[in-house]
Amino acid sequence: MTPHHHPSDDTLMAYAAGALSAGPRLVVSVHLSACAHCREAVRAFEAVGGALLDSAPPAAMADDALERLLARIDAEAGLAQVVPLPSARPRAPTTPDGIPLPAALARHSISPWRKLPDLQWARVILADAPDANVILLRIPAGKPAPRHSHTGREFTQVVYGGFSDGRDHYGLGDLTEADQHVDHQPLVDAEGECICLAAVEGRLRIHGVGRLLQPFIGL
């Protein structure tokens, strides 16, 4: 599977620099796990970080900096070797009815799914950034997502099925970014339902009937 829609270059650069906030960072990492091309791009942007580090002007160091570091190394070596537990990889999460979700979500918690006739959603509560706005959205075949716009950027990764948003079609593995100028209403493919992982910076504005959802989604 090769994704057709990728994070923008500046998003990949921010990811490599460590400058993306927690929610978008998680969504981009899900894309990367399925996209060798973007992994390669991140590697190149990490090399930018390496070049900047290498050309940073050297700062004055304490005279005994190396000595203290070596003392720490000796202290560690003196300790009994701690045998790390076999890293029990947390099981990849699924929807309640067993559709696999990205493995990267395993380290975070997923709220119970809430249901409306044409929409189900769950919040992803990041282990280290519980305030981040990350949700899973699940919409039946042929149905629209609530029309919405946002005050910040929105990063949406397709993890099951596909949708169109009037600009383009997005399938499994694709990531789309939208900023505050985009006011869109995604429509799920007729062939089957769609699940997306979305991170929103700032607030999400839902229009029309969908406005009723706002307090429930809690963005």
Partner: protein
């Protein structure tokens, strides 16, 4: 150079004479000595080169982070993980940058600026490491330095702030006192220019 960039994009050999590009540079030789026999003289040399640069790199993040401790943690991780360094994937400076970046994200998170320690995308994936890749990694480092040098000053500035301070676009906009849209477009242009040089065609 144009020919070699094209070759790089196709992932083919730049030159048949690989012996000249294959020679390990000094930091790579130090890493190899550390990995192979815990060579303390090599580690001291690596420390002499990178610790002062890490200190100045990390000092600019301006957050509530203890720079000296972060430098120590970074170098300690370099020592512990020396045998997982793969010269086919990245230059030594790039590898150390990613270690410092991850530790800084972690430190900022602990300090209350919530950002989770996701593993880097490259931690999970073991891409093949052969001689050709080794050459490509070296070529990439050279291209990166060249590409950075060619950025217009105002673009280079926002790139530096992004990497050195891990600030978001909004934070950079406040810091420089320029509109957010300007920061966005400078970053977009810089990322585009760098990616054209660095990436295989998308």
């Amino acid at each position: 150079m144009a020919a070699s960039i094209t070759a790089l994009r196709r992932g083919t050999r730049v030159s048949d004479d690989l012996s000249s590009v294959r020679a390990l540079d000094a930091p790579q030789a130090w890493m190899q000595a550390i990995a192979a026999h815990r060579d303390r003289a090599a580690f001291a040399a690596l420390h002499r080169h990178f610790a002062p640069r890490l200190a100045s790199f990390l000092a600019r993040s301006g957050g509530p982070t203890d720079v000296e401790e972060l430098v120590q943690e970074t170098m300690l991780t370099v020592w512990r993980k020396a045998d997982s360094y793969n010269p086919a994937q990245a230059g030594v400076a790039t590898w150390i940058f990613t270690i410092a970046r991850n530790l800084r994200i972690d430190a900022l998170r602990r300090a209350g600026r919530a950002r989770p320690p996701e593993p880097g995308p490259l931690d999970d994936v073991d891409d093949a490491a052969d001689g050709e890749a080794l050459m490509l990694a070296g070529e990439r480092e050279a291209l990166v330095r060249q590409a950075l040098g060619q950025l217009p000053p105002e673009q280079a500035e926002v790139v530096r702030l992004t990497y050195f301070t891990e600030q978001t676009q909004a934070e950079i906009s406040r810091r420089l006192g320029v509109p957010l849209g300007t920061v966005k477009s400078r970053l977009r242009l810089a990322a585009k220019r760098l990616s054209v040089l660095l990436e295989p065609g998308r």
